[in-house]
């Protein structure tokens, strides 16, 4: 495979079977989005956010891009903006991991920190304020931009259908909701019987550190009607499945992958025997090493200790 530049190398990720972790009579497959150029599924989204903004004249040459992101979207945007000549500001909770801050800085992004105790909702609010104060910046806003699910509708889902036409269910984590919405709509347009499940990470109290429920945030891109179920996964279970994935299948993935895998295993019981389930692995584990998620030790103790920062 040969590409003109890094943005062309996004997508076409491997779909890998899990012969050891699939329950008897079922076939779980992982779509390894960590194989994208900056190491996550967000390369697809960032490419679409910038391409669509260029296409519709929302982004002028050299204009500053600003986005609330605690990591993967920022890293993907930073690489793409660098190649395309746009300066970038990322707004993120101050407790974001060091690896991510270093990657963003190296790609030339400017970092603005929102208070850790306000979690990702705080980063969203601060970015919206900064964007409204400065008419010269362009905020793609992945949480509300149709280009986000469109990236999955036009690329992720067709890849799954090409590799596994008999897919019976799809599982992905809920962040912006772009993955389940885009993939879900495409798969159901081909076969309405295909089931779509969302894995909802049960964050630590810090992420929920809202003063009142009015500060809750439901992303506009999430289409709740495309889902057949939404299942929450606690840190311990996500960690357990992430570690089993390395120990039994030789796949080193981020903790969100463990959450989706936990849901994939859980829903097998409600699917016909022989069903093929695709779970999306948003990234590899590299950026999370400093959290301690892969360190030896007791899982319960580990989950207690790092649940506040695990998903941040």
């Amino acid at each position: 495979m040969r590409f003109a530049d890094v943005t062309e190398a996004i997508g076409n990720t491997p779909l890998v079977g899990l012969p050891h972790l699939s329950p008897e009579g079922y076939h779980i497959h992982l779509k390894l989005e960590g194989h994208n150029p900056t190491g996550s599924v967000k390369d697809r989204v960032a490419k679409y956010l910038i391409d669509q903004a260029e296409r519709f004249g929302q982004l002028a040459p050299g204009q500053r891009v600003l986005e609330p992101t605690s990591g993967n979207t920022g890293i993907a945007l930073a690489a793409i903006c660098r190649v395309k000549g746009y300066p970038l500001t990322c707004v993120m909770p101050e407790n974001t991991s060091e690896e991510r801050k270093q990657l963003l800085t190296m790609f030339g992004a400017e970092l603005v920190y929102s208070p850790a105790e306000q979690g990702s909702n705080g980063a969203v609010r601060m970015a919206q304020q900064l964007a409204s104060d400065d008419p010269n910046v362009y905020m793609p806003f992945q949480y509300g931009n149709a280009a986000n699910p469109l990236a999955h509708y036009e690329t992720t889902a067709p890849e799954i259908l090409a590799d596994l036409p008999e897919v019976t269910a799809f599982v992905a984590g809920l962040g912006t909701g772009g993955t389940v919405t885009g993939v879900g709509r495409r798969l159901k347009s081909v076969n309405p019987q295909i089931k779509i499940y969302a894995a909802e990470p049960e964050y630590g109290d810090l992420v929920y550190g809202l003063r009142n429920l009015d500060e809750g945030y439901v992303p506009e891109v999430l289409d709740v009607d495309v889902l057949d179920g939404r299942i929450k996964v606690d840190s311990r279970s996500a960690l357990e499945w992430t570690r089993r994935l390395a120990e039994e299948e030789g796949i080193f993935a981020g903790v969100s992958t463990g959450a989706s895998l936990a849901v994939a295993v859980r829903v097998c019981g409600r699917l016909p025997e022989g069903a093929d389930i695709v779970a999306l692995s948003p990234d590899g584990g590299w950026k999370y090493l400093s959290t301690g998620a892969y360190a030896p030790g007791d899982l319960d103790e580990l989950a207690d200790r790092i649940s506040a920062t695990l998903w941040a």
Binding site: S70, L174, Y217, G229, V233
Partner: protein, 91 residues
């Protein structure tokens, strides 16, 4: 009887308790029992007869929107969890 897990932001209504046990055979009955003594608590959970959009409710980890909503049955062993909607963690 059902156990209800209360998020940090609502614990001011439960004397700081993270888990509260209430009567009720469905989520709706349990929630009405939960907020019966406090109008402000009721307003935080309900918008009229419906749950407010900014909270997600799970019975044994499953979002009740995809079960039977407020009519979802709960047994003594079940845990009802209330979680505020948040922008995605690693997005």
């Amino acid at each position: 009887m059902a156990r209800v897990r209360i998020p940090t932001v609502l614990r001011k209504f439960t004397a700081g308790e993270a888990i509260v046990t209430v009567d009720g055979a469905t989520v709706g009955e349990a929630f009405r029992a939960l907020v019966a003594a406090d109008d402000e608590f009721a307003r935080q959970i309900f918008d009229g007869e419906e749950l407010r959009g900014y909270i997600n409710v799970y019975v044994d980890d499953e979002d009740i929107r995809y079960l039977d909503g407020l009519d979802t049955p709960v047994g003594a062993e079940d845990e009802i969890a209330i979680m505020p909607a948040v922008a995605g963690g690693a997005a």
